[in-house]
C-alpha cells in the first residue's frame, strides 16, 4: 500500500512540473470560464460602479474578426458594461480619448483577420497583427475592463486556432484528409470560429438555467463546473498516457523488476491519476471562489461530488489507456473524447432544451452527472439531493474500471 501511494504522489509531482499539462488542467478552464462569463454579461452586471464605459472603436481591418469584435462590443451582453461607438479615423478616436470623452479607443489594424485566419493559398497564418488600445490615463479601471475584454477575445481566438491546428494535424496524420485539402479546411475552420464569435449567443448557455432557477442564479455556477469537468477529461486521459510513456521510457519495466508487484504499480498509477484529478478540481473550485466570488455550495457535498466525478472520469481514462497502443493514440482519443463529452455532457450548451435521447446518451459522460450535481449544490441543495449523480458516477467508474482491467489482462497487463 505504501508503494502504491508513493507511485501516485510521484505522478502528481511530475504532472505539476509539466507546463503543457498545467495549461490544459488549470489555465484553459479558468480562462474559458472567464471568457464565457464575460460573454454572458456576468461581470458587467455585478461590477457595481463600473457601467456604461464609453469606448470608441476603429475597424481598419474590415475582415470577419474585426467585425466580430465590433459586434461583441455592441452586443446585448455587454450593453450594460460598455457603450461603444464606431469611428473611421484613428486620429479622431485618439482625440476623443485625449479630450476625456471616452475611456479608451480600440483600433483594429488592417490585416488583423488575415493574420489569424490564413488567406487562400497560404499554409500558415502570418505574424499576428496586434490590436491597439489607446487608454485614458484618468480612467484606469475602465481601461482595464476594456483590455480584459480584448484579451479574452484574443485568448479565445488562440484557443480556437490551436484547437483547429490540432484537429487538422490529426486529420492529416490519420490520413483522412490529403495534405492539399488541409488549407481549405483550415480556412473553413477559421471562418467558423469567426462566426461563432460573432453570434455570441451561441455561448450564452446560462439563461435557460437562470430562468429555471427563477432566482438570482449566477451563470458562472454553471460555466465553471462545466469547464472544470471538461478539462478533467484531459487530466484522466493524460494520466493514462503516462502509463504508456513509462512503458516506453523504461521506468515501467524498471518498476516491475523491483520488488513491487504489478498490482501495486497499476494501482499506484491509477491513484496518481485520481489524485491529480481531485487536486485539479479543488484548485479550480478554490480559484473561482476567490476570483469570481462563486458560491459552490455546501463544501462537504462539493467534495463528495468531486471525489465521485473524478472516479467516473478515471474510469474513462483507464478505458482509453487499455485500448491504446501508443501514447500519441491516447492523446488523440483523449482530446476527441474531451470535446465530445464537453458538448454531449452540457459543458458548452445547457441540455435543458436538448431532445430526450441526447439527455439519455449524455449519461455516459461524467460531465452530465457532475453538472447536475454542481448545479443542485450551487442552488443551495445538500448532499441528500445529489445522491443520484454520485451514484451514477460511481457506477460509471466501477463498470469502466472492470472493462479496462479485463482488457489489460487480455493484453498481458499491457505491461510485459
Amino acid at each position: 500500500m505504501r508503494k502504491l501511494l508513493l507511485i501516485g504522489l510521484k505522478d502528481l509531482k511530475l504532472v505539476f512540473r509539466d507546463k503543457a499539462a498545467l495549461i490544459f488542467m488549470l489555465l484553459a478552464p479558468f480562462l474559458l470560464t472567464l471568457g464565457l462569463g464575460f460573454v454572458t454579461g456576468q461581470f458587467g452586471s455585478s461590477g457595481g460602479g463600473i457601467a456604461n464605459i464609453p469606448v470608441v472603436l476603429v475597424d481598419q481591418d474590415g475582415g470577419q474578426l474585426g467585425t466580430a469584435l465590433v459586434e461583441l462590443f455592441q452586443s446585448e451582453d455587454l450593453s450594460d458594461l460598455v457603450t461603444a461607438t464606431v469611428l473611421d479615423d484613428p486620429d479622431a478616436a485618439r482625440q476623443q480619448v485625449n479630450d476625456d470623452l471616452v475611456a479608451a479607443a480600440v483600433i483594429i489594424p488592417d490585416g488583423f483577420t488575415e493574420s489569424i485566419i490564413p488567406a487562400e493559398g497560404q499554409m500558415e497564418p502570418g505574424e499576428t497583427v496586434q490590436l491597439v488600445i489607446y487608454g485614458n490615463p484618468t480612467r484606469p479601471t475602465s481601461v482595464g475592463v476594456v483590455k480584459t475584454i480584448l484579451e479574452e477575445f484574443v485568448a479565445r481566438l488562440e484557443v480556437g486556432r490551436v484547437g483547429g491546428t490540432v484537429a487538422i494535424t490529426q486529420l492529416l496524420t490519420s490520413g483522412l484528409v490529403p495534405p492539399e485539402q488541409a488549407q481549405a479546411i483550415a480556412v473553413e475552420m477559421g471562418q467558423h470560429q469567426a462566426e461563432s464569435l460573432a453570434e455570441s449567443n451561441a455561448i450564452t448557455l446560462t439563461t435557460n438555467v437562470a430562468s429555471e432557477a427563477a432566482t438570482d442564479f449566477n451563470p458562472l455556477a454553471y460555466i465553471a463546473p462545466g469547464m472544470a469537468l471538461m478539462f478533467l477529461m484531459y487530466t484522466v486521459s493524460n494520466g493514462g498516457r503516462t502509463l504508456l510513456v513509462e512503458r516506453n521510457q523504461g521506468t515501467l519495466p524498471r518498476l516491475l523488476v523491483s520488488p513491487t508487484n504489478s498490482a501495486q504499480v497499476l494501482g499506484g498509477k491509477i491513484f496518481g491519476i485520481y489524485l491529480t484529478g481531485v487536486v485539479q478540481m479543488l484548485i479550480l473550485i478554490i480559484a473561482s471562489t476567490l476570483f469570481f466570488q462563486l458560491q459552490w455550495g455546501d463544501p462537504l457535498a462539493v467534495l463528495a461530488l468531486v471525489l465521485a466525478a473524478v472516479f467516473g472520469a478515471c474510469g474513462w481514462g483507464m478505458l482509453i489507456t487499455s485500448l491504446a497502443k501508443r501514447p500519441s493514440q491516447i492523446a488523440a482519443i483523449g482530446s476527441a473524447i474531451m470535446l465530445t463529452f464537453g458538448i454531449l455532457g452540457g459543458s458548452f450548451f445547457s441540455l435543458s432544451f436538448a431532445p430526450g435521447w441526447i439527455k439519455w446518451v449524455s449519461r455516459i459522460t461524467p460531465n452530465a452527472w457532475g453538472l447536475d450535481g454542481f448545479n443542485i449544490l450551487a442552488l443551495g441543495g445538500g448532499l441528500n439531493l445529489i445522491l443520484e449523480p454520485i451514484a451514477g458516477l460511481l457506477v460509471m467508474g466501477v463498470v469502466l474500471f472492470a472493462v479496462s482491467l479485463v482488457l489489460f489482462n487480455r493484453r498481458g497487463m499491457a505491461l510485459k
Binding site: K3, L6, G250, R254, L256
Partner: protein, 314 residues
C-alpha cells in the same frame, strides 16, 4: 564458492523468432561475469528473463537459490538492474529519482537518506543532485541510471551495456566503479559488445551469438581455443577491396584464416612475423595499399572471429 546464479537451458521466443536458444551458465559469488556478443545476440533478452521481467519460453534460472519463474519476488530483492536504455524520470532531480527508486526497493527514513547520499557520492553527482535529470549530459544520466541499481546494495548486479554512447571519460569512470563494487563484494553480470571491456573487467566471459552461448570460460581458456595463434591486422585504404585481399591471402602457407571487415583484414597465423613478408608482397601484387599493420596476441576478438568467422562489431 557457491553459484549465486545458475542458468539452465533458458529459451525465449518472440513469436516465431527464437532470440535465446537454450543458454546455460553459472556465476559464482564474487565474480564479474561478462556476456560478450554483437548487437542482437540476445544479451538484453537474457538479462530480462534473469531479472524476472520476461517469462522464459523454456528453461529456468535460480538466483540465490530462488527460481526466477516461481519466486520472482525473492529474486528481485537480491538483484539490482541497470537497464541498457535509461530508465529515469527526467522531470525529477537526480536525488528525487534515487529517493523514489530507493522507496520502491523498500528503503525508508534515515536508511534511505544515507543510502541516497552514499550513492550520489559514488556516482560523483553529490553537488548536482538537485538538478533535474533532463538537464544532465548523457554520461551523467548514465551514472544516475547505474546509481538506481545500487541503492539497496544488491548481491548480484545486472549491467546491460552501461557504457554505450558516452564519452571516454565517463566510460572510464563507469568501468572503474564496476571494479570497485566488485571489490566490495558485489557479484556482477556485465553485458557488452566491446571486447576490451570484457577483457578488462571479467573473471570469466560467455560469448553469445544468435541466441547461443558459443564459448564460456576465463579469458586464458578462451584464447587457448584459438591456439597460440597470433593475429595480423592490416589497415587498408577506404577504396580498397578488403574481401578480395582476404581471399588471396588465404593461399599463403602458414595463414590459417583471413577475414575482411570494413577497411581491415585480419589474418590469423601461428607466427605473425613469418607471414608478414608474403602478406605485404601479395598486397603489392594486387596494388592494394596497406596503411599500417598491427600484430595482436590472441584476444577475445580473435576468439569470436575464430568461432563465427565474423568480427564482433559490424
Amino acid at each position: 564458492m557457491p553459484a549465486i546464479l545458475e542458468v539452465k537451458e533458458l529459451v525465449k521466443k518472440y513469436g516465431d523468432f527464437t532470440a535465446v536458444k537454450g543458454v546455460s551458465f553459472d556465476i559464482q559469488e564474487g565474480e564479474i561475469f561478462s556476456l560478450l556478443g554483437p548487437n542482437g545476440a540476445g544479451k538484453t533478452t537474457t538479462i530480462s528473463m534473469l531479472s524476472t521481467l520476461y517469462i522464459p519460453t523454456g528453461g529456468d534460472a535460480a538466483i540465490g537459490g530462488h527460481s526466477v519463474t516461481k519466486e520472482p519476488m525473492a529474486v528481485r530483492n537480491i538483484i539490482g538492474v541497470v537497464p541498457q536504455d535509461l530508465a529515469l524520470y527526467e522531470d525529477l532531480t537526480a536525488r528525487e529519482n534515487l529517493v523514489f527508486w530507493g522507496q520502491m526497493y523498500g528503503l525508508s527514513g534515515k536508511t534511505l537518506n544515507s543510502r541516497v547520499d552514499e550513492v550520489l557520492e559514488q556516482i560523483g553527482l553529490a553537488d548536482r543532485a538537485k538538478e533535474r535529470v533532463k538537464a544532465y549530459s548523457g554520461g551523467m544520466k548514465r551514472r544516475v541510471n547505474i546509481g538506481v541499481g545500487l541503492l539497496h546494495k544488491p548481491r548480484l548486479l545486472f549491467m546491460d551495456e552501461p557504457t554505450v554512447g558516452i564519452d571516454p571519460q565517463s566510460r572510464r569512470a563507469i568501468l572503474d566503479s564496476v571494479k570497485d563494487l566488485n571489490k566490495q563484494g558485489m557479484t556482477v553480470l556485465y553485458t557488452t559488445h566491446y571486447m576490451e571491456e570484457a577483457a578488462e573487467l571479467s573473471d570469466r566471459v560467455g560469448i553469445i551469438d544468435h541466441g547461443e552461448l558459443i564459448a564460456l570460460g576465463t579469458q586464458a581458456e578462451l584464447t587457448r581455443q584459438v591456439g597460440e595463434n597470433e593475429t595480423l591486422l592490416l589497415h587498408i585504404g577506404e577504396d580498397e577491396d578488403a574481401e578480395a585481399l582476404a581471399k588471396s591471402l588465404k593461399g599463403i602457407p602458414g595463414v590459417l584464416q583471413a577475414t575482411a571487415t570494413d577497411h581491415e583484414v585480419s589474418v590469423i597465423a601461428r607466427e605473425a612475423e613469418e607471414i608478414l613478408a608474403p602478406v605485404v608482397t601479395k598486397a603489392n601484387e594486387r596494388g592494394i595499399k596497406i596503411n599500417s599493420i598491427d600484430i595482436r596476441e590472441p584476444n577475445l576478438e580473435a576468439v569470436f572471429l575464430h568461432l563465427t568467422g565474423r568480427a564482433l562489431r559490424d
